[in-house]
Protein backbone atom coordinates (compact mmCIF):
# COMPACT_ATOMS: atom_id res chain seq x y z
CA UNK A 1 0.00 0.00 0.00
CA UNK A 2 2.68 2.46 1.05
CA UNK A 3 4.90 1.36 -1.82
CA UNK A 4 2.05 1.82 -4.29
CA UNK A 5 1.10 5.29 -3.05
CA UNK A 6 4.65 6.62 -2.99
CA UNK A 7 5.52 5.10 -6.37
CA UNK A 8 2.53 7.01 -7.72
CA UNK A 9 3.68 10.18 -5.96
CA UNK A 10 7.22 9.90 -7.36
CA UNK A 11 5.99 9.33 -10.93
CA UNK A 12 3.33 12.03 -10.70
CA UNK A 13 5.91 14.45 -9.35
CA UNK A 14 8.25 13.70 -12.24
CA UNK A 15 5.53 14.28 -14.83
CA UNK A 16 4.39 17.53 -13.22
CA UNK A 17 7.88 18.87 -12.60
CA UNK A 18 8.89 18.31 -16.22
CA UNK A 19 5.76 19.81 -17.76
CA UNK A 20 3.97 22.31 -15.51
CA UNK A 21 6.60 23.41 -13.04
CA UNK A 22 8.33 25.71 -15.52
CA UNK A 23 5.36 28.05 -15.40
CA UNK A 24 6.00 28.78 -11.70
CA UNK A 25 9.69 29.60 -12.23
CA UNK A 26 10.94 32.65 -10.35
CA UNK A 27 13.77 34.39 -12.22
CA UNK A 28 14.12 31.25 -14.26
CA UNK A 29 14.62 29.06 -11.19
CA UNK A 30 12.32 26.14 -10.44
CA UNK A 31 12.27 24.18 -7.18
CA UNK A 32 13.60 20.63 -7.03
CA UNK A 33 10.42 18.90 -5.88
CA UNK A 34 11.92 15.43 -6.34
CA UNK A 35 14.61 16.18 -3.78
CA UNK A 36 12.08 17.59 -1.32
CA UNK A 37 9.90 14.49 -1.57
CA UNK A 38 12.87 12.15 -1.09
CA UNK A 39 14.07 14.06 1.99
CA UNK A 40 10.59 14.23 3.55
CA UNK A 41 9.98 10.53 2.99
CA UNK A 42 13.41 9.59 4.35
CA UNK A 43 12.80 11.73 7.40
CA UNK A 44 9.58 9.90 8.19
CA UNK A 45 10.62 6.38 7.23
CA UNK A 46 14.33 6.06 7.95
CA UNK A 47 17.52 5.60 6.00
CA UNK A 48 16.82 2.35 4.15
CA UNK A 49 13.52 3.42 2.61
CA UNK A 50 14.95 6.89 2.02
CA UNK A 51 17.77 5.37 0.02
CA UNK A 52 15.39 3.24 -2.04
CA UNK A 53 13.01 6.08 -2.92
CA UNK A 54 15.98 8.32 -3.73
CA UNK A 55 17.51 5.73 -6.01
CA UNK A 56 14.25 5.16 -7.91
CA UNK A 57 13.42 8.86 -8.29
CA UNK A 58 16.96 9.62 -9.45
CA UNK A 59 16.96 6.78 -11.92
CA UNK A 60 13.69 8.01 -13.43
CA UNK A 61 15.22 11.45 -14.00
CA UNK A 62 18.44 9.98 -15.36
CA UNK A 63 16.70 7.77 -17.87
CA UNK A 64 14.75 10.69 -19.28
CA UNK A 65 17.05 13.70 -19.08
CA UNK A 66 20.35 12.87 -17.39
CA UNK A 67 23.65 13.28 -19.18
CA UNK A 68 25.06 10.20 -17.49
CA UNK A 69 22.65 7.53 -16.26
CA UNK A 70 23.25 6.78 -12.58
CA UNK A 71 24.53 10.13 -11.34
CA UNK A 72 21.23 11.45 -9.99
CA UNK A 73 20.29 7.97 -8.80
CA UNK A 74 23.46 7.82 -6.72
CA UNK A 75 23.17 11.39 -5.44
CA UNK A 76 19.51 11.14 -4.48
CA UNK A 77 20.06 7.74 -2.90
CA UNK A 78 22.82 9.17 -0.71
CA UNK A 79 20.62 12.16 0.11
CA UNK A 80 17.75 9.89 1.14
CA UNK A 81 20.07 7.66 3.15
CA UNK A 82 21.63 10.50 5.11
CA UNK A 83 18.36 12.39 5.57
CA UNK A 84 16.79 9.27 7.06
CA UNK A 85 19.59 8.67 9.49
CA UNK A 86 20.10 10.69 12.66
CA UNK A 87 16.86 12.59 12.54
CA UNK A 88 14.48 9.72 13.16
CA UNK A 89 14.12 10.71 16.79
CA UNK A 90 13.29 14.34 16.13
CA UNK A 91 9.80 15.56 16.78
CA UNK A 92 8.22 14.98 13.41
CA UNK A 93 5.43 17.46 14.10
CA UNK A 94 8.05 20.16 14.37
CA UNK A 95 8.74 22.08 11.20
CA UNK A 96 12.20 23.38 11.99
CA UNK A 97 14.03 20.06 11.69
CA UNK A 98 12.58 19.05 8.30
CA UNK A 99 12.94 22.53 6.81
CA UNK A 100 16.57 22.82 7.89
CA UNK A 101 17.19 19.33 6.59
CA UNK A 102 15.64 20.15 3.22
CA UNK A 103 17.81 23.26 2.96
CA UNK A 104 20.96 21.34 3.86
CA UNK A 105 20.09 18.52 1.46
CA UNK A 106 19.33 20.96 -1.40
CA UNK A 107 22.59 22.77 -0.86
CA UNK A 108 24.70 19.62 -0.82
CA UNK A 109 22.76 17.97 -3.66
CA UNK A 110 23.10 20.98 -5.96
CA UNK A 111 26.77 21.40 -5.13
CA UNK A 112 27.43 17.71 -5.79
CA UNK A 113 25.48 17.98 -9.07
CA UNK A 114 27.64 20.96 -10.04
CA UNK A 115 30.86 19.16 -9.15
CA UNK A 116 30.02 16.04 -11.15
CA UNK A 117 28.44 17.64 -14.20
CA UNK A 118 30.30 20.95 -14.43
CA UNK A 119 33.44 21.21 -12.32
CA UNK A 120 34.77 17.93 -13.65
CA UNK A 121 34.24 19.30 -17.16
CA UNK A 122 36.38 22.32 -16.42
CA UNK A 123 33.75 24.82 -15.24
CA UNK A 124 35.58 26.25 -12.27
CA UNK A 125 33.45 29.36 -11.86
CA UNK A 126 31.95 28.02 -8.61
CA UNK A 127 30.75 31.23 -6.99
CA UNK A 128 28.80 32.40 -10.01
CA UNK A 129 27.04 29.04 -10.25
CA UNK A 130 26.44 29.28 -6.52
CA UNK A 131 24.77 32.67 -6.77
CA UNK A 132 22.77 32.06 -9.93
CA UNK A 133 21.61 28.45 -9.50
CA UNK A 134 22.49 26.79 -6.20
CA UNK A 135 21.38 29.37 -3.62
CA UNK A 136 18.13 30.42 -5.36
CA UNK A 137 17.14 26.76 -5.82
CA UNK A 138 17.86 26.08 -2.15
CA UNK A 139 15.77 29.05 -1.06
CA UNK A 140 12.86 28.02 -3.26
CA UNK A 141 13.10 24.41 -2.01
CA UNK A 142 13.12 25.62 1.58
CA UNK A 143 9.86 27.54 1.22
CA UNK A 144 8.09 24.91 -0.87
CA UNK A 145 9.45 22.19 1.44
CA UNK A 146 7.21 23.35 4.29
CA UNK A 147 4.08 22.59 2.28
CA UNK A 148 5.36 19.38 0.74
CA UNK A 149 6.48 18.08 4.14
CA UNK A 150 3.01 18.82 5.50
CA UNK A 151 1.44 16.83 2.64
CA UNK A 152 3.82 13.85 2.84
CA UNK A 153 3.45 13.80 6.61
CA UNK A 154 -0.32 13.65 6.24
CA UNK A 155 -0.26 10.92 3.60
CA UNK A 156 2.24 8.85 5.58
CA UNK A 157 0.15 9.16 8.76
CA UNK A 158 -2.97 8.12 6.90
CA UNK A 159 -1.27 4.97 5.61
CA UNK A 160 0.22 4.14 9.01
CA UNK A 161 -3.15 4.46 10.71
CA UNK A 162 -4.76 2.26 8.08
CA UNK A 163 -2.11 -0.39 8.52
CA UNK A 164 -2.48 -0.34 12.28
CA UNK A 165 -6.23 -0.63 12.04
CA UNK A 166 -5.89 -3.63 9.78
CA UNK A 167 -3.42 -5.28 12.17
CA UNK A 168 -5.74 -4.68 15.10
CA UNK A 169 -8.62 -6.13 13.17
CA UNK A 170 -6.69 -9.31 12.43
CA UNK A 171 -5.89 -9.79 16.10
Amino acid sequence: MRILVFTAIVILNFLISSTWLHSVAIWGIIPNTTLIIVVCYALLRGDLEGAIIGFCAGLLYDLMFGRIVGVSALLLMMTGFVAGKPFADFFKENYIAPVLLIAAASLSYEIAFYVINFLLQGRTDFFRYMGIVILPTTAYNLVLGIFIYRAIYGINNLITRREERRKGFLK
Binding site: I11, F14, L15, I16, S17, S18, T19, W20, L21, H22, S23, W27, G28, I29, I30, N32, T33, T34, D47, L48, A51, I52, F55, L60, Y61, D62, L63, M64, F65, R67, I68, V69, G70, V71, A73, L74, M77, F81, F113, Y114, N117, F118, Q121, R123, D125, R128, Y129, I132, V133, P136, T137
Partner: protein, 274 residues
Protein backbone atom coordinates in the same frame (compact mmCIF):
# COMPACT_ATOMS: atom_id res chain seq x y z
CA UNK B 1 11.58 -5.14 4.29
CA UNK B 2 12.87 -7.06 7.33
CA UNK B 3 15.22 -8.96 5.07
CA UNK B 4 16.55 -5.72 3.57
CA UNK B 5 16.82 -4.17 7.02
CA UNK B 6 19.01 -7.05 8.16
CA UNK B 7 21.39 -6.74 5.19
CA UNK B 8 21.03 -2.96 4.93
CA UNK B 9 24.72 -2.23 4.50
CA UNK B 10 25.09 -4.72 1.68
CA UNK B 11 21.93 -3.55 0.00
CA UNK B 12 23.04 0.09 0.02
CA UNK B 13 26.46 -0.95 -1.22
CA UNK B 14 24.82 -2.91 -4.04
CA UNK B 15 22.82 0.18 -5.08
CA UNK B 16 26.00 2.30 -5.09
CA UNK B 17 27.81 -0.27 -7.22
CA UNK B 18 24.80 -0.48 -9.54
CA UNK B 19 24.89 3.31 -10.00
CA UNK B 20 28.55 3.23 -10.96
CA UNK B 21 27.99 0.33 -13.35
CA UNK B 22 25.25 2.32 -15.09
CA UNK B 23 27.49 5.39 -15.31
CA UNK B 24 30.26 3.29 -16.82
CA UNK B 25 27.91 1.90 -19.44
CA UNK B 26 26.45 5.25 -20.45
CA UNK B 27 29.27 5.94 -22.86
CA UNK B 28 31.53 8.86 -23.38
CA UNK B 29 29.22 11.28 -25.16
CA UNK B 30 26.70 10.91 -22.35
CA UNK B 31 23.76 9.47 -24.22
CA UNK B 32 23.79 5.80 -24.97
CA UNK B 33 20.84 4.13 -26.60
CA UNK B 34 20.38 1.74 -23.73
CA UNK B 35 17.42 -0.57 -23.71
CA UNK B 36 16.26 0.65 -20.31
CA UNK B 37 16.47 4.23 -21.41
CA UNK B 38 14.23 3.87 -24.42
CA UNK B 39 11.84 1.45 -22.69
CA UNK B 40 11.29 3.60 -19.59
CA UNK B 41 11.51 6.81 -21.60
CA UNK B 42 8.83 5.66 -24.03
CA UNK B 43 6.35 4.96 -21.26
CA UNK B 44 7.17 8.01 -19.16
CA UNK B 45 6.94 10.13 -22.28
CA UNK B 46 3.29 9.19 -22.77
CA UNK B 47 2.57 10.50 -19.29
CA UNK B 48 4.45 13.70 -20.01
CA UNK B 49 2.53 14.18 -23.25
CA UNK B 50 -0.75 13.83 -21.36
CA UNK B 51 0.25 16.32 -18.67
CA UNK B 52 1.67 18.69 -21.22
CA UNK B 53 -1.57 18.76 -23.22
CA UNK B 54 -3.64 19.32 -20.07
CA UNK B 55 -1.33 22.18 -19.10
CA UNK B 56 -1.56 23.67 -22.58
CA UNK B 57 -5.34 23.52 -22.50
CA UNK B 58 -5.44 25.56 -19.30
CA UNK B 59 -2.84 28.06 -20.42
CA UNK B 60 -4.71 28.51 -23.72
CA UNK B 61 -7.93 29.31 -21.84
CA UNK B 62 -6.07 31.64 -19.53
CA UNK B 63 -4.32 33.41 -22.40
CA UNK B 64 -7.59 33.81 -24.27
CA UNK B 65 -8.99 35.98 -21.50
CA UNK B 66 -5.86 37.84 -20.49
CA UNK B 67 -4.50 38.76 -23.88
CA UNK B 68 -7.54 40.25 -25.67
CA UNK B 69 -6.45 43.86 -25.35
CA UNK B 70 -2.87 43.03 -26.12
CA UNK B 71 -3.90 41.11 -29.22
CA UNK B 72 -5.86 44.05 -30.52
CA UNK B 73 -2.81 46.31 -30.39
CA UNK B 74 -0.60 43.61 -31.78
CA UNK B 75 -3.00 43.14 -34.66
CA UNK B 76 -2.80 46.83 -35.54
CA UNK B 77 0.95 46.70 -35.40
CA UNK B 78 1.14 43.53 -37.49
CA UNK B 79 -1.09 45.00 -40.20
CA UNK B 80 1.37 47.86 -40.55
CA UNK B 81 4.20 45.38 -40.52
CA UNK B 82 2.62 43.40 -43.36
CA UNK B 83 2.47 46.50 -45.52
CA UNK B 84 6.10 47.20 -44.87
CA UNK B 85 7.15 43.60 -45.48
CA UNK B 86 5.19 43.40 -48.71
CA UNK B 87 7.15 46.33 -50.01
CA UNK B 88 10.35 44.64 -48.90
CA UNK B 89 9.32 41.37 -50.48
CA UNK B 90 9.13 42.94 -53.89
CA UNK B 91 12.67 44.18 -53.52
CA UNK B 92 13.73 40.81 -52.18
CA UNK B 93 12.24 38.95 -55.13
CA UNK B 94 14.11 41.22 -57.43
CA UNK B 95 17.45 40.59 -55.74
CA UNK B 96 16.72 36.85 -55.50
CA UNK B 97 16.23 36.67 -59.25
CA UNK B 98 19.43 38.60 -59.69
CA UNK B 99 21.18 36.27 -57.27
CA UNK B 100 20.05 33.18 -59.16
CA UNK B 101 21.34 34.60 -62.41
CA UNK B 102 24.68 35.46 -60.89
CA UNK B 103 24.95 32.08 -59.13
CA UNK B 104 24.41 30.31 -62.43
CA UNK B 105 26.97 32.58 -63.93
CA UNK B 106 29.72 31.62 -61.50
CA UNK B 107 28.54 28.01 -61.35
CA UNK B 108 27.98 28.25 -57.61
CA UNK B 109 26.55 25.07 -56.19
CA UNK B 110 24.12 25.94 -53.43
CA UNK B 111 24.27 22.74 -51.46
CA UNK B 112 22.00 23.46 -48.56
CA UNK B 113 19.46 25.92 -49.76
CA UNK B 114 16.69 23.74 -48.41
CA UNK B 115 16.54 20.97 -45.83
CA UNK B 116 14.03 18.21 -45.21
CA UNK B 117 12.37 19.14 -41.93
CA UNK B 118 9.89 17.50 -39.60
CA UNK B 119 7.61 19.39 -37.21
CA UNK B 120 7.45 18.33 -33.56
CA UNK B 121 5.74 19.54 -30.38
CA UNK B 122 7.79 20.36 -27.32
CA UNK B 123 6.41 18.17 -24.53
CA UNK B 124 8.50 18.48 -21.39
CA UNK B 125 11.52 20.30 -19.99
CA UNK B 126 14.35 19.18 -17.74
CA UNK B 127 13.12 19.77 -14.17
CA UNK B 128 16.52 20.85 -12.84
CA UNK B 129 17.98 24.33 -13.09
CA UNK B 130 21.19 23.04 -14.65
CA UNK B 131 20.30 21.59 -18.01
CA UNK B 132 18.33 23.15 -20.88
CA UNK B 133 17.09 19.86 -22.24
CA UNK B 134 13.59 19.22 -23.52
CA UNK B 135 11.66 16.37 -25.14
CA UNK B 136 9.69 16.36 -28.38
CA UNK B 137 7.01 13.98 -29.67
CA UNK B 138 8.97 12.48 -32.57
CA UNK B 139 11.31 9.50 -32.41
CA UNK B 140 12.95 6.80 -34.47
CA UNK B 141 9.50 5.91 -35.84
CA UNK B 142 9.51 9.25 -37.65
CA UNK B 143 13.11 8.96 -38.78
CA UNK B 144 14.66 11.11 -36.07
CA UNK B 145 18.25 10.21 -35.14
CA UNK B 146 20.89 11.45 -32.69
CA UNK B 147 22.79 14.61 -33.68
CA UNK B 148 20.14 15.93 -36.03
CA UNK B 149 19.83 19.71 -35.90
CA UNK B 150 16.71 21.19 -34.30
CA UNK B 151 15.37 24.53 -35.52
CA UNK B 152 12.75 26.81 -34.09
CA UNK B 153 10.76 29.08 -36.39
CA UNK B 154 13.12 31.95 -35.57
CA UNK B 155 16.44 30.13 -35.78
CA UNK B 156 18.73 27.47 -34.39
CA UNK B 157 17.47 25.64 -31.28
CA UNK B 158 19.82 22.70 -30.60
CA UNK B 159 20.48 19.08 -31.44
CA UNK B 160 18.94 15.68 -30.79
CA UNK B 161 20.90 14.05 -27.98
CA UNK B 162 18.88 10.90 -27.33
CA UNK B 163 16.05 9.24 -29.12
CA UNK B 164 13.38 6.65 -28.32
CA UNK B 165 10.76 5.13 -30.57
CA UNK B 166 8.12 7.80 -29.91
CA UNK B 167 10.14 10.67 -28.41
CA UNK B 168 13.48 12.42 -28.66
CA UNK B 169 15.54 14.45 -26.20
CA UNK B 170 16.82 17.79 -27.49
CA UNK B 171 19.87 19.50 -25.98
CA UNK B 172 19.22 23.21 -26.46
CA UNK B 173 21.93 25.56 -27.65
CA UNK B 174 21.53 27.28 -24.24
CA UNK B 175 22.81 24.22 -22.39
CA UNK B 176 26.07 24.64 -20.55
CA UNK B 177 28.85 22.87 -22.42
CA UNK B 178 26.92 22.68 -25.69
CA UNK B 179 28.98 24.28 -28.45
CA UNK B 180 28.22 25.22 -32.04
CA UNK B 181 30.66 26.39 -34.68
CA UNK B 182 29.45 29.79 -35.89
CA UNK B 183 30.32 32.87 -37.87
CA UNK B 184 29.25 36.48 -38.18
CA UNK B 185 26.92 36.80 -41.13
CA UNK B 186 28.27 40.17 -42.29
CA UNK B 187 32.00 39.57 -41.96
CA UNK B 188 32.38 35.79 -41.93
CA UNK B 189 34.51 35.88 -38.75
CA UNK B 190 34.28 32.51 -37.06
CA UNK B 191 33.88 31.51 -33.42
CA UNK B 192 32.27 28.96 -31.15
CA UNK B 193 28.86 29.74 -29.68
CA UNK B 194 28.23 27.93 -26.42
CA UNK B 195 25.74 27.83 -23.60
CA UNK B 196 26.61 28.93 -20.09
CA UNK B 197 24.37 28.44 -17.06
CA UNK B 198 25.16 31.93 -15.78
CA UNK B 199 24.20 33.60 -19.05
CA UNK B 200 21.36 31.19 -19.75
CA UNK B 201 19.46 32.52 -16.74
CA UNK B 202 19.41 35.88 -18.55
CA UNK B 203 18.57 34.15 -21.83
CA UNK B 204 21.98 34.82 -23.42
CA UNK B 205 24.73 32.84 -25.18
CA UNK B 206 28.46 33.36 -25.44
CA UNK B 207 30.66 33.30 -28.55
CA UNK B 208 34.31 32.44 -27.94
CA UNK B 209 37.52 31.94 -29.90
CA UNK B 210 37.00 35.02 -32.04
CA UNK B 211 40.10 36.19 -33.88
CA UNK B 212 41.48 39.42 -32.43
CA UNK B 213 41.42 40.97 -35.90
CA UNK B 214 37.75 40.13 -36.34
CA UNK B 215 35.43 42.88 -37.44
CA UNK B 216 32.31 41.85 -35.52
CA UNK B 217 30.07 44.55 -34.10
CA UNK B 218 27.06 44.77 -31.82
CA UNK B 219 23.92 43.90 -33.77
CA UNK B 220 25.61 41.52 -36.22
CA UNK B 221 23.73 38.32 -36.99
CA UNK B 222 25.51 35.09 -35.96
CA UNK B 223 24.85 32.00 -38.09
CA UNK B 224 25.97 28.36 -38.08
CA UNK B 225 28.90 27.75 -40.41
CA UNK B 226 30.14 24.94 -42.58
CA UNK B 227 32.89 23.89 -40.14
CA UNK B 228 30.33 22.04 -38.04
CA UNK B 229 30.15 18.37 -38.91
CA UNK B 230 26.54 17.94 -37.81
CA UNK B 231 24.69 21.22 -38.31
CA UNK B 232 23.57 22.72 -41.61
CA UNK B 233 25.32 26.03 -42.34
CA UNK B 234 23.64 29.39 -42.62
CA UNK B 235 21.06 29.07 -39.85
CA UNK B 236 20.50 32.10 -37.65
CA UNK B 237 21.66 31.59 -34.05
CA UNK B 238 21.20 35.13 -32.77
CA UNK B 239 22.54 38.65 -32.73
CA UNK B 240 25.56 40.08 -30.95
CA UNK B 241 24.52 42.08 -27.89
CA UNK B 242 27.94 42.89 -26.50
CA UNK B 243 31.60 42.53 -27.47
CA UNK B 244 34.35 42.03 -24.95
CA UNK B 245 37.89 40.89 -24.34
CA UNK B 246 39.30 38.64 -21.65
CA UNK B 247 42.24 36.32 -21.14
CA UNK B 248 40.90 33.96 -23.79
CA UNK B 249 40.83 36.70 -26.44
CA UNK B 250 37.75 38.31 -27.95
CA UNK B 251 34.30 37.11 -27.01
CA UNK B 252 30.76 38.18 -27.76
CA UNK B 253 27.52 37.92 -25.83
CA UNK B 254 24.83 36.71 -28.20
CA UNK B 255 21.07 37.16 -27.83
CA UNK B 256 19.58 33.97 -29.29
CA UNK B 257 17.00 34.33 -32.04
CA UNK B 258 14.89 31.68 -30.35
CA UNK B 259 12.91 32.46 -27.20
CA UNK B 260 13.50 29.26 -25.22
CA UNK B 261 11.06 30.17 -22.49
CA UNK B 262 8.24 30.05 -25.01
CA UNK B 263 8.88 27.29 -27.49
CA UNK B 264 5.72 25.32 -28.32
CA UNK B 265 7.09 23.48 -31.36
CA UNK B 266 10.33 22.91 -33.28
CA UNK B 267 11.53 21.60 -36.63
CA UNK B 268 13.93 18.67 -36.83
CA UNK B 269 16.27 18.72 -39.82
CA UNK B 270 16.20 15.07 -40.93
CA UNK B 271 19.12 15.45 -43.34
CA UNK B 272 22.43 14.37 -41.80
CA UNK B 273 25.40 16.58 -42.54
CA UNK B 274 28.28 14.27 -41.76
Amino acid sequence: MDFLQRYKKWFILALVVLSFVMMAFTGRDGYSQGFARSAVGGVVFRGQALFSSIGNWFSDRWNFFTSMNELHHENQRLLLEIDRLNAELVQHRHSQAQNNDLALLVNLHLRYDSYAVLGADVVSHDPSNWLSTFTINRGTNDGVAVNMAVLAPMGFAGRISAVGSNYAVVTAVMEDGHAVSAQGERTGDTGIVRGDVNLASQGLLRMDFIDTSADLAVGDAVITNHVSSIFPPGILIGHIAEMGQDVGGMYAIVTPAVDFSRLPYVLVVTDIFD
